[in-house]
């Protein structure tokens, strides 16, 4: 546990530096409660995806289809039929729809990777293309507007001043942490990612476990889809574009190795916050887009290098 603080020290430092930059460049607007909530709200849907992604990467794989699954789930949960069902019955049906779509897409990924022995990169790349195509077909490329008040009220609401979206993110992150660090599922995920053959010889059903991990991230995408639907009040086949890259970036900045076998939920949360805060500061400072892009590239590099150095030093002692 003491290792955990040390391991994430680089991230804390990086986040602090970014905070100082925010304070310095926008002293009146950056350090406000409202702005903090804005950052958190923005970070939460992607954050949920990153938690799932941490598991996939810890299991030695990658999932490029998260954004597309999210789009498909958002569309499926907001079709006219879904919304009518929600009106007739209860908006919870929309929730189930999104989660089920996410789970099934994840299941297909998982089956292809675990039993079809496809590289996860390529299996999920195919899923990316196909799921977005399917989302377009279902939505007829129209943005689907959500009219179900109960749904919007619930997800758009606040509890004790905290937006429900942020609370969901916090719960998912906490659940992810427990799952990864305190359960046999998490332990086995790390084993499968660290040395699949050793895991197999230890009696772990590696294929089934791999499949489950993909289902897990699919469900996370389903949750994120609901959050994004609530935030935008729409379902659309264009939701979540390029989120796969942002999610992976957050996980790696957080210190999880792409080679598998290790994973840190705390780091991932930090990684996501760093990226979100950065974006917010860019917004506050009217930075021009292209310059932002260059700066963002440089900052990702700097953050990862810092994180590595501190982790290495921490390990050395």
């Amino acid at each position: 546990m003491s290792g955990s603080v040390g391991r994430n020290l680089g991230l804390v430092v990086a986040l602090l530096i970014i905070f100082v930059i925010g304070m310095a460049t926008a002293p009146d607007r950056f350090p406000t409660v409202d702005n903090t909530l804005t950052i958190l709200r923005y970070a939460s849907a992607l954050g949920v995806v990153t938690i799932g992604m941490t598991f996939v990467i810890a299991a030695g794989h990658i999932d490029l289809s998260v954004g597309a699954i999210l789009a498909l789930a958002s569309v499926w949960a907001t079709t006219l039929a879904s919304q009518r069902a929600a009106e007739d019955f209860h908006w919870i049906t929309m929730v189930f729809t999104a989660l089920a779509v996410g789970a099934v897409c994840g299941l297909i990924n998982g089956i292809l990777v675990a039993y079809g022995r496809m590289a996860s990169f390529i299996a999920t790349l195919a899923m990316l293309v196909a799921a977005r195509g399917l989302a377009e077909i279902i939505s007829e490329r129209r943005t689907q507007i959500v009219e179900v008040r109960g749904f919007l009220d619930f997800f758009g609401g606040e509890v004790f001043g905290l937006p429900v979206l942020v609370i969901i993110f916090a719960l998912v992150a906490a659940g992810g942490w427990v799952l990864l660090n305190r359960t046999t599922f998490g332990r086995r995920t790390l084993a499968v990612g660290g040395n699949a053959e050793a895991a197999r010889l230890a009696g772990i059903k590696v294929q089934r476990h791999t499949m489950l991990v993909f289902v897990l991230v699919g469900v996370a995408c389903g949750i994120a889809a609901l959050m994004l639907v609530a935030r935008t009040t729409t379902g659309s086949s264009t939701h979540g574009q390029l989120w796969e890259l942002d999610a992976i970036a957050a996980v790696v900045i957080g210190g999880t190795l792409l080679s598998g076998g290790r994973g840190t939920i705390v780091g991932t949360v930090f990684g996501g916050l760093i990226l979100a805060t950065l974006t917010n500061i860019f917004t506050l400072n009217n930075l021009d887009t292209s310059t932002q892009a260059v700066a963002k590239g440089a900052i990702i590099v700097a953050a990862v290098l810092l994180q590595q150095r501190v982790a290495a030093r921490n390990r050395g002692t």
């Binding site: 359960t183 084993a191 660290g194 053959e197 050793a198 009696g203 059903k205």
Partner: protein, 494 residues
């Protein structure tokens, strides 16, 4: 087990093998490299599916479909290639797959305590259950593997060359554990290439040759060595060290090491190796011998001191500079440090000498192949197919491939770290004469081995290392095994 058949693409690894083990006995499995020992026990452990044959357990037929079903029967296995997860802790590895948990939630403290007890039972209370396994040296990993086997409620433990990475002291401790187990009625299948170990703990012996059982139920203690070797190899082999050659002790040393140190690992190592001389490093596991060898080679960067070859100083921390000066290394862990598992034997052998087969960086592949094939034949790698992927070779044959690499390269200085680890008796005596021949040709050889007799029998000069320091230097024929052990013990006490 009866009539077990297992074929891999292109090889019939097991061709109708029989093996029967009784409760409370130590049943030894002998055979040359590639005879099929590991494959057989992997079938027993559920890691491989046999193509044919039956397995009976306590009188009834069973089907062992996966590792879990073997474990449920009470069969635990320590594999030859250490299969642990580096990123997990010692305790997590020990209980992997059968975690101490309720409703999926792990009990960490309880796991750590249980692991600690197992490690104590194995005589290693100093290994912390919280350490990441990746940080342990090979011997430590072997201990963890054993603890993992013991963590099951077992009736049969299979050990595939557990002593390969252990030193004398450790092996004795292991034997103690084995005796405890057999006393409780647990059966042990023990695989080793060291015949003297078989004699010490074994009850009965089964000999495999080319995937077939050639003898079974031999009494371990009474069967004469020559008989065992004949069964294994089909010929009789002098199990002895070749005569020491003569080398000019006053010749300019090829390799000189002066006050070499690396913080926290070893300090102040000084010695010379003359052409044709074999210098052996003896010591316990963890005494830092591998570090010394790897530092000489430049794979680790020394903090102080100098290494010179032919009077030219090597750049610290530069493998290139060592290789360019004619130094070669057969590293300790062949799988992770030496071999391209998915490449052919040819390509593994030619790797460091590539430029020799290339003109303006285009490779002449027929010359390359011919040269590698020559090494394959010289070393008697089996099967003798140089285009076979190294992955599919047995452990001992893989070791020969690594050696062949440097023979082909033609080194002036050869650093051998546990060169006979996992090598069968036949091949072992071949390797001994090979090493001797090399020395006779003027190669300076530095040898690390955890088998003290091997160091004493092969080397001209012996350095005894304890805790990263040289505690004794002298000719090999002036010291015996007990003295070495005494020195090592003393060193570790101070």
């Amino acid at each position: 087990m009866h009539g077990i058949v297992k074929t891999f693409p292109g090889v019939r690894a097991l061709d109708g093998v029989d093996l029967d083990v009784s409760p409370g006995e130590v049943h030894c499995l002998l055979g040359q490299n590639g005879a099929g020992k590991s494959t057989l026990i992997k079938v027993l452990a559920g890691a491989h599916h046999p193509d044919d044959g039956t397995i009976s357990w306590r009188g009834s037929h069973v089907r062992i479909t996966d590792p879990m079903s073997a474990m449920r029967l009470g069969i635990a296995t320590i594999y030859q290639e250490l299969d642990l997860v580096d990123g997990l802790t010692v305790a997590e590895n020990i209980y992997l797959g059968h975690e101490l948990a309720s409703a999926g939630f792990t009990h960490r403290a309880q796991t750590d305590r249980a692991a600690q007890r197992l490690l104590e039972r194995l005589g290693h209370p100093e290994i912390s259950p919280r350490t990441e396994v990746g940080r342990l040296p090979a011997a430590g990993k072997q201990i963890v593997s054993m603890a993992r086997a013991l963590s099951h409620d077992v009736q049969l433990i299979v050990m595939d060359e557990p002593s390969a990475v252990l030193d004398q002291e450790e092996v004795n401790r292991l034997f103690g554990v084995i005796r405890d187990l057999t006393r409780d009625g647990v059966a042990v299948v023990y695989i080793s290439h060291r015949l003297e170990e078989i004699r010490e703990v074994g009850d009965r012996v089964t000999v495999l040759k080319d995937g077939r059982t050639v003898a079974t139920g031999l009494p371990a203690r009474e069967t004469p060595t020559s008989e065992v070797i004949r069964l294994m190899t089909g010929r009789s082999i002098e199990y002895a060290f070749p005569d020491r050659g003569t080398h000019d002790a006053r010749a300019e040393p090829v390799l000189s090491v002066r006050n070499l140190s690396r913080d926290g690992e070893f300090a102040d190592v000084t010695f010379d190796v003359a052409p044709g001389e074999i210098v052996g490093l003896a010591g316990l596991v963890g005494s830092g011998r591998s570090e010394i060898i790897e530092t000489i080679y430049g794979a680790r960067k020394s903090t102080s001191g100098a290494v010179t070859v032919h009077g030219r100083r090597l750049r610290p921390g530069s493998v290139r500079s060592a290789v360019a000066a004619g130094v070669g290394l057969c590293p300790e862990e062949r799988k992770s440090q030496a071999l391209l598992m998915h490449e052919s034997v040819v390509r593994n052998i030619s790797l460091p000498s590539l430029s020799r087969f290339a003109s303006s960086s285009f490779i002449n592949r027929s010359v390359e192949r011919a040269a590698a094939t020559e090494q394959v034949q010289k070393l008697d790698v089996r099967p003798a197919d140089p285009s076979r992927e190294v992955r599919t070779l047995s452990g001992g044959n893989q070791q020969k491939v690594v050696l062949g690499r440097w023979l082909l390269k033609g080194c002036d200085v050869l650093l051998l770290d546990e060169p006979t680890r996992g090598v069968d008796v036949g091949a072992r005596s071949e390797l001994y004469s090979l090493i001797r021949d090399l020395a006779a040709q003027g190669v300076a050889i530095l040898l690390v081995s955890s088998e003290i007799p091997e160091v004493l029998g092969l080397a001209d000069q012996v350095l005894v290392i304890s805790d990263g320091r040289v505690v004794h230097t002298g000719p090999a024929d002036e010291i015996d095994e007990h003295q070495v052990l005494g020195l090592v013990m003393e060193g570790s006490v101070t």
